[in-house]
């Protein structure tokens, strides 16, 4: 079996590369210990400026209620909207709440009052979530006032709709739990996408591939010998990830480890195949690097790692359909947090298998033994 000699050679070379062999072990530790803490979407400590034009007991109560919440810091009580905007420009506050002069009057007489929220949306996430939190506090305040002013109305017509939230599978809605499986996917993508791509190209640059091309070795064996080592590396990295996630965050998959390994094995095969395709077309390491970077970044952003796929425009969702990352990411989160089993995940499994077959066939076909 020729392939045996080729795989032997790949492993020897990998082991002898002092940087690469260490990097594969250090990389998961660093990424998993730092990124989940940094990639936190929860917005806290928003700086709020309140323009109270009313100065009534009702408006003060509202301001107190807001200040009591852990999301907001009351940074100032400017006298005018213009001054408040200046505060935003100077980055002293993120949001403005303006209470009109007729607030109390309107509230008592017309049982209806208006306030205005302006948010600095330079950081869209902060602006959006901040306004939503503030609106939530206002709604609560609204309910309290209503009960006081119109006790009868509340009991009769305005029974109100009480919404209770229950976050299934991630009860505390902790972003870390959502990010850890995602970062594992990213790690495996980078290691199994970048390394095979650079492998063949660096052989092209060194000229060693030419010596290989004058031998009768088949393209299939050659490609397989480049795939299998990264497949093994992928497994090692994944195992390290499980350990780190448990050690640092106490996170252990709810579902079976075997399910994850099964999906990972197909995913790695698919993504390494993609890396090999790149290396077949690239002539220099620089070209390969740029191509893989482009593909990996695109796939990561289109996969739902940071933003839900459902929020994307229709065309974006179509693109995310051709990203193997999307399927593997979904599987990882489901197995880790919800405990889904292989039987529940037939669709992503078939999708990943399709990618593996298509990419690797393409990799074999695009490999040229002669020019």
């Amino acid at each position: 079996m020729v392939i045996k000699y080729l795989i032997e050679k790949e492993f020897k070379q990998f082991g002898r590369n002092p940087f690469l062999s260490k990097f594969v072990f250090i990389f998961p530790f660093v990424m998993l210990s730092i990124l989940p803490l940094a990639a936190n979407f929860e917005v806290k400590d928003l700086n709020l400026a309140v323009i109270d034009n009313n100065h009534s007991s009702y408006s003060r109560r509202l301001v107190q209620k807001i200040a009591a919440s852990r999301y907001f810091h009351l940074t100032g009580v400017p006298s005018s909207y213009r001054q408040a905007l200046k505060n935003i420009e100077q980055d002293q506050s993120d949001m403005i709440l303006e209470i009109p002069p007729s607030f109390e009057q309107d509230l008592i007489r017309e049982k209806n009052a208006r306030v205005m929220i302006s948010a600095n949306a330079v950081n869209g996430m902060k602006g959006g979530l901040g306004s939503a939190y503030l609106a939530g506090i206002l709604a609560e305040y609204n309910a309290e006032i209503r009960q006081e002013l119109l006790p009868s109305a509340v009991s009769s017509s305005q029974t109100g709709l009480e919404v209770s939230k229950l976050f299934r599978f991630n009860p505390l809605l902790d972003y870390k739990f959502m990010m850890v499986p995602a970062i594992m996917v990213m790690l495996i993508t980078m290691i199994c996408g970048f390394l095979p791509a650079f492998n063949i190209v660096s052989e092209k640059e060194a000229g060693t591939i030419e010596q290989m091309n004058v031998t009768p070795v088949s393209k299939f064996s050659l490609i397989l010998s480049k795939l299998i080592p990264y497949w093994v590396v992928g497994f090692v990295v994944l195992t390290i990830c499980f350990g780190v996630a448990w050690l640092f965050y106490g996170l252990w998959p709810k579902g079976s480890l075997l399910t994850i390994y099964l999906f990972a094995s197909v995913f790695v095969l698919a993504f390494s195949g993609l890396g090999l395709i790149v290396s077949n077309y690239a002539k220099t390491l620089q070209q390969a690097m740029f191509m893989v970077f482009f593909i990996v970044i695109t796939f990561i952003f289109m996969s739902g790692l940071y933003t839900p796929v459902d929020n994307m425009p229709q065309w974006g969702q179509y693109i995310s359909d051709i990203s193997p990352l999307k399927y593997f990411l979904r599987v990882m989160r489901l197995v880790y947090l919800k405990g889904s089993s292989t039987a529940d995940l037939i669709k992503p499994f078939l999708a990943l298998c399709t990618f593996a077959v298509v990419f690797n066939t393409w990799a074999v076909l695009s490999y040229r033994k002669s020019q």
Partner: protein, 254 residues
């Protein structure tokens, strides 16, 4: 078109109007020649004359634009993989794995060419003994001096006892003593019946060949034994022969 039956038994390389174009540039222009079994065939020419391109076509690394050629009885256009089983190749650029040890490189290529695994270790030791490399068996190839690397590359290229070995400037950049040793290795291989197809810049090496061809601007300007060439051109040595012929070159050096 020539058919398989028309190839003379004793010819291991037959080229007929072999041509390679890169865009408008004709690197190899209607090359026709034959190489006999067991011959040491020198392939001479200035830089950019098309030697490497011609050799790459014969090895199946490059597809010809037109013309045809047969290597070891196989068509270079259609039976490339069969040709690869019967040839050894040593490129101009050192192409063994620098991060593998000497014995690991030998084992890798022996395995690829289908040398039985039980024979590999023994034959490796024999080879290293012949080369005087026993002490370097465990050394990483990148730690070897260039001359040793070249000898190793040649030995790896003929480890599987090919019918023909193609050597592209095998002695480029090595000192005269090593060049001599290298040619001894070539003679040993030729004695075992391996046909040697070698390109070189060194005209003293041309004298060691049974026959030489001199390529100028993509076509063969002269092809004969070194002695005949010297007589025809009334030259005192091959260097003189080369200068007389290469003077006709119109291509500037690339």
């Amino acid at each position: 078109m020539i058919s398989k039956t028309q190839i003379p038994e004793d010819k291991v390389i037959v080229a007929r109007d072999l041509t390679k174009k890169f865009g408008n540039f004709t690197a190899v222009d209607h090359l026709s020649f034959e190489v006999g079994k067991g011959e040491i065939f020198g392939f001479l020419g200035a830089n950019g004359a098309g030697k490497t391109t011609a050799m790459r076509m014969l090895c199946g690394l490059s597809k010809q634009t037109s013309g045809e050629a047969w290597v070891a009885g196989y068509d270079i256009a259609r039976e490339t993989e069969k040709i690869k089983r019967c040839i050894g190749y040593m490129s101009q650029k050192f192409a063994l794995y620098e991060d593998l040890k000497v014995w690991e490189n030998i084992r890798l290529y022996a395995g690829i060419y289908g040398v039985p695994e039980k024979d590999i270790a023994g034959r490796t030791d024999d080879l290293l003994k012949r080369l005087g490399f026993e002490a370097e068996k465990q050394a990483l190839v990148k730690s070897l001096p260039l001359g040793w690397k070249q000898k190793l590359a040649f030995s790896v290229a003929i480890f599987h006892e090919p019918k023909i070995v193609f050597l592209d400037e095998p002695t480029g950049g090595v000192d005269p003593a090593v060049r001599r040793q290298f040619w001894e290795l070539i003679y040993q291989a030729a004695d075992r019946g391996i046909t040697v197809f070698v390109t070189t810049h060194y005209m003293d090496e041309a004298e060691y060949c049974n026959r030489v061809s001199i390529m100028v601007d993509g076509h063969i300007e002269a092809l004969d034994t070194p002695n005949n060439l010297k007589q025809q051109l009334e030259a005192k040595n091959m260097d003189d022969v080369f200068h007389q012929l290469a003077r006709k070159a119109k291509r500037t050096e690339q």
